[in-house]
Every structure is written in structure tokens, then in C-alpha cells.
Symmetry: C2
Subunit: 214 residues, 2 copies
């Protein structure tokens, strides 16, 4: 990616914060210019409209998520790092939450993002499948036919829709608590696949979760 | 609900078909009037804008879904009817799919629907919890602590987001196939909770699913 001017970088950071905190539908490019304390014309000189900024923010998200997802490929994870891995993915999504909170409308409005988003979903699904395969190989999980690919698909959907679902359900608390609940809900999809030899692992997991929420 | 004029009923059916088939964002009240072959002014006489029509369509959806969800309370289900029940719920959602395909934006735009939708989510969650409890009592399922309520919550999210997810993932096929895949994905969330005595049940389930898709 080409280096950005300081102003462009500041516009991106400002817009991301505004979209995340105020809701994507409520923010216009005029609002962005006002918060940046520049004229709409000056903003337009850097970015030709809000959707161009969103497309560039999506590119940032894609870069960061690819790096996160690639980490365990470069270096195998310790067992307890599996759960931390899920946290980090959720935190990444939360950092760009405006996107997930209004996904359909944004993808309808900016068609160029559609194929990119579809690619990212595939990457996410493959990452979950790798994680589950690792735990299967080590004997911590066991799957009937089809269950592993279906579970990794379902985890993908869970990660994509957790934030809007939590909003719909009126879950209370700060981001950290919402993410924690999301990871917990993800884990409860995995734990039914434990073999008997994995039961002691529940204690380790519980400690980890208690610590996160504490 | 007050009786509707024939014209109102026709406006509602026409709008529902348009929103479902063309996408909610692409349809204006002018389009609805054009397809109805009436003037925008005449349409406005009956409904004061697209969002008023959407709110009334939501009321219809709520009525129908409440009836569907209440069925097994009035009369206990036979074992195989559990899966048919899931199909019927999905079909109901599919009949009003425009709503689920653009949920966040519609709820942002029509705030009065928010609490109604939240109530409906609770009903759905309770219906799933009843279904799981029934199968637990009959010994077909077994749950560790918390797992039953978490699973029913997760099934709720699955039903709400399956159609937009299938669209994002580019799943091919007609509505029947998409619903079938959605039910199958729901079942794979339930089957890990089977006890050993439930294994023969897999064959019955497979037959049912093959029949649906065939």
C-alpha cells in the first residue's frame, strides 16, 4: 500500500472513531470535515466522499486481519493460545465494528467491497478449520463426518454477526464484555466436540475466561 | 388487528414481493405505486410512505411467527416434528426475508420496530429452549451446565442471520435449498449434544433431510 500523507492518516483515524461511536448511517462527510476542523472542500481534495474513506478503512482492516490470521501458520500455537487467538480476531473486528453493524447496507452501497469481503470470509473459515484440525490432531477434539467444516463455517458466521446480534439483544457492557461474551459463545460451540480426555481442560478454560472478564 | 381494505391488502402483498425480490434499498414508494398501477398520491392516501408499509408488514410477520412458535405449546410434538418445526420457522423468516437482509438499516430507520423485534427474539429463544428441553427430558439430548440456554441463544442468532450470511457467502440455489442448508447447519449445532442412545436417530434425520432436498 502506498504511503499516506499525515492528513490522510488523520482523516482515516478520525472517521473510524466517528463511524464506530456514532453509527455509520449518522455520519456524513460534512461531519467528518467538521470534526477534523477543515472545510468539506479540503476533505474532498483528500478523499472524494465518505464511501472512498470506508473502502480505504476496509483495506486497513483486511491487512490487519490477514496478519492476525496468518500468525499460527508461521508458528504453531500453544494449547491455551487458541482462545487468545479468538479474542484477538474479535478485537480486530471490534476495532472496525461500524462495518459489521451495518454490513448489508455498506456492501450494497460499495459493490467493490463485495468480492473482497467474500475473500476475507473464506480466510476466516480456513483459519477456524486449521485451529479445529490442530485440536483434532492433538486429540482434544473429535468430529463426525462433515462436522469440522460445518463448525468452522458456523464460527465464521458467529464472528461476523456477533456485534450486531449483541446490539439487537441489548447486551449491556463495554466492548471488552461484549467480546468476552462472543468468545464464550464461540467456545460453547467447540466444547461439545470434546472427547472425555479433554474434560480437565474445562478448568483451564474457565480460569482464562474468568481472568478476561475480571 | 383492524380489518384492512382490499386495496391495503393488495398494497401490502405487492410491496412484500417487491422488497423480497428486488432488495429493500432499491424500492421506493414511487416504485410501489407504479407496480400497483396507481398514482403516488393514491398510495399515500392508504399508507403515508414506504416505512409505514414496512411497519405493517412487520406486524404481519410477528402475528404469523407467534402462531408458529405457539404450536408445540398447544400440542406436544412427535420427535420427527422437531425438524419440521425448524423448517417452518425458517420458511416464515424467508417469507419476510427483505427484513432480515437489511436488518440494521431498517431498525435504525424505524425505531418503533426495535422493541418489537427484541420481543420476537426472546420468543424465538424461548421456543428453542423448549424444544431442547423436550429432547433432553426424553433423553435424546444431554447438556452440561449453561449449554442449553447458550445453544438456544445461538440458534436464535443463526435463524436471524442465516439468509444474509448465505447471501454474503454466495450460496447458490433457490429458497428451498438455502432454507435446507440453514436447517442442516442448525441441526449440526444440536447433534453434538446427542447421547449414545441417540445415534440411531441420525438415520431418521438423514432420511428427512434427503427427502427435503430431493
Amino acid at each position: 500500500m502506498a504511503a499516506r500523507s499525515k492528513t490522510k492518516e488523520k482523516i482515516l483515524r478520525t472517521t473510524l472513531a466517528l463511524l464506530n461511536n456514532e453509527g455509520e448511517v449518522n455520519i456524513t462527510s460534512v461531519d467528518i470535515a467538521a470534526v477534523m476542523d477543515i472545510s468539506p472542500g479540503n476533505l474532498y481534495y483528500h478523499y472524494k466522499g465518505k464511501d472512498i474513506i470506508i473502502a480505504e478503512l476496509f483495506a486497513d482492516f483486511e491487512d490487519e486481519l490477514r496478519q492476525v490470521l496468518a500468525a499460527p501458520v508461521n508458528k504453531p500455537m500453544a494449547l491455551e493460545d487458541n482462545w487468545i487467538y479468538l479474542y484477538i480476531i474479535f478485537e480486530e473486528i471490534n476495532d472496525f465494528r461500524f462495518f459489521f453493524l451495518n454490513l448489508t447496507a455498506i456492501l450494497d452501497r460499495i459493490p467493490a467491497l463485495g468480492p473482497k469481503f467474500a475473500r476475507l470470509l473464506s480466510l476466516l473459515q480456513q483459519a477456524f478449520e486449521r485451529l479445529l484440525s490442530g485440536l483434532e490432531t492433538s486429540g482434544h477434539l473429535s468430529f463426525r463426518i462433515d462436522e469440522k467444516s460445518i463448525l468452522s463455517e458456523r464460527l465464521t458466521a458467529h464472528f461476523i454477526y456477533w456485534l450486531p446480534y449483541a446490539k439487537l439483544r441489548g447486551l449491556k457492557g463495554n466492548s471488552k464484555i461484549i467480546i468476552h461474551e462472543g468468545v464464550y459463545a464461540a467456545l460453547t460451540q467447540i466444547t461439545p466436540h470434546w472427547g472425555n480426555q479433554s474434560e480437565p481442560y474445562a478448568a483451564l478454560l474457565k480460569d482464562f475466561l474468568d481472568e478476561q472478564i475480571g
